[in-house]
Symmetry: none
Subunit: 208 residues, 4 copies
DNA sequence: TATGAATGAGCTTTCATTCAT
DNA sequence: GATGAATGAAAGCTCATTCAT
């Protein structure tokens, strides 16, 4: 088999198993059994169990990062909301295509090692920063009432994480994803907005 | 030392170390070193490493459970809100007294084993049920607009978990806890309520 | 078994096998098989394969070190020679009691690792220094002709090492050790001395 | 590339690396990386890692062997000494041109395997035989006093080995090699000879 | 009760060697 | 001839658990 194909194949197997059993409970033996390769072959492609895990992690981080755009305030208020919904929806869509690593990123946070913890921390910090900047922007634009930006950003992040983690079956269907994104946004925006911003929004259809 | 006291002492040590290093990275050696007991003694009190972990977990679940009361709708609408705030605040207070296990419960979710996953699942399911029942009640009482109860319950749970996990320093101070609880509630309620329910609430003092 | 006894037992087994097969070809499996203990037991007593080897090495170095005394020049010339012979004989006697590590120290010099190489280097450097000091002293006292101290010290060390390495059966018998020590000394002294120092020495009896 | 040239190229790389890192620490990967060939190609030219090592060893043994000539006693006593000096000097010269394998031969003696040990043993045995024959000849010719031939041969071999191993920088310069050879010979001959044989020898210039 | 020496299955990793292309 | 992906035995080491004292 071509070197590149084999890499991808092993990465796919590893992703699946890490997602199901977590980092610690996944052994190299598990991976090579699933991939149908010999022990040595694994180390031909990856330096260590940790290395393949990191590679999967980085890959996901990059893709998530690409999903999230800073809100462009130069458009009208309605479009700002549209941009936010699009952001959330893109993240939902991405993670629906990689539920295995999603489980890892969302919930394997303790005890891996300092390197992993730092990397994860950094990743979430960046997302939080994006949310906080958006909130501050909203406050400046008088779209958002005065509030504790840090705590609200955390709440938003946490809400999204939990929905992603607990409801993976939603993620399969594009229409349902749109619905969920809108519902989340509605939940937060109605709470944050100084006046009713959703008046002009189309009614969400049959949330299941 | 009395059997009961020794149990408690070992449980305390274990809780501390599990909280700091996570389940996998904590070894029985770590625990007995900290507790100052012999290897064999550990197994005199606990069946296995897993068993002591489970015991700590159950203990915490019970205590959290005791914190959360179903909302009593027979009182007026304002008191319903007060009951919700009290619920959140009690959870905050509890977890502030046991940050170690908090870390575990909030973030060690993957890869321990099926038994652990099921137990955690059950625990969160119960909390979610409580939230959902409260939401449905609110809808019936026309305090809460029509919404997707399941997704919103998840969002609320996730938001609380994230704040708890990321902001442990808040948990130390009772006054700050009250502030945080109110800010969270305000965030959600303003979004959920059909009309402005917070009009009659006392203004929160200096949210930092 | 008592902790101390077991340590000694394992050290003895390890010494024997290291001596026979060398560091690299000796596996921990070899040692535990010989010692009749479980894999884990080995690591209960020693941090690593390297650690037990180092311990054996250090033990030997200390003992060799204790054998070698600087020559005391305040006595007469004849006694100086006697002191040298005694030094050589004591080293012979010591190594006869530990042939296994002798093989290691004398010939395992390449490729272990930097730490080992440095330790060995240091050890030989100390011996060479002792020899050089003795030679310089001899030159000052006009007992030894003017010569290249460094190269001659090396030659003496090398000669002793080779005899020790290749003729271990000599080392068993105390009388033969005395004979060998004297023969070595005679060889070198007759070459180093400006006049015939051995004229007054008793004739060596039946070198085998 | 011609088969013969490739063989030589790979042998050269292997010699260099074995010399630097020793047999065990040298991997086939090291060799093929240095030689710029593929894994399989290596095994096209050599049966195994062990086989290429043996080949290098044999090559060196043959060359050393060619350096050492039996002393021809039919010439006068002075020329006998000259022949000995020439022998030593040729060995020094040879090894100066191949320091890498020198390190191996002189110090990688334990733990390769029985085959290696036997081969090395045989090689040194031959050298020792040559020395012993020369000594016996000297004794017969009354040039050498009566002594234990076996032990003295060992001492001479050991002295030469040690100087070669520890002082490789000398080996670079032809003049220094001559000086060292003479110093060594002087050391031994003055000790071995019944009368002063060096009286007629040219004085060594500036031994450092 | 309490001890701590002993266990052994199982982990990650290495590397000389093979073989289909 | 040449390649390099694939192999798998064996290495060093960890750690939850047991049991004789």
């Amino acid at each position: 088999m071509k070197r590149k194909d084999r890499r991808i194949q092993v990465l796919d197997c590893a992703r699946r198993i890490f997602g199901r059993k977590g980092y610690h409970s996944t052994s190299v033996s598990d991976i090579i059994r699933e991939a149908g390769i010999a022990r040595g072959t694994f180390y031909l492609y990856f330096d260590s169990k940790r290395a393949i895990f990191d590679e999967l992690l980085d890959e996901l981080f990059v893709r998530i990062d690409e999903c999230i755009n800073r809100v462009d305030p130069s458009v009208g208020p309605g479009d700002v909301i549209g941009q936010l919904i699009d952001n959330v929806e893109r993240v939902f869509a991405l993670l629906s295509s990689d539920r295995d690593m999603t489980r890892i990123v969302l919930h394997e946070a303790v005890g891996l090692d300092q390197g992993f913890d730092r990397k994860l921390e950094e990743f979430y910090r960046k997302i939080l920063d994006t949310i906080e900047v958006s909130l501050n922007l909203g406050i400046e634009m008088n779209l958002v009432r005065n509030l504790d930006v840090r705590i609200v950003a955390l709440a938003i992040l946490g809400a999204i994480k939990e929905v992603l983690y607990r409801q993976p079956e939603w993620l399969a269907d594009a229409k349902a994803r749109r619905t969920a994104s809108e519902e989340m946004l509605r939940l937060f925006l109605s709470g944050l907005a100084e006046q009713e911003l959703f008046s002009g929004m189309p009614e969400v259809s049959d949330t299941p």
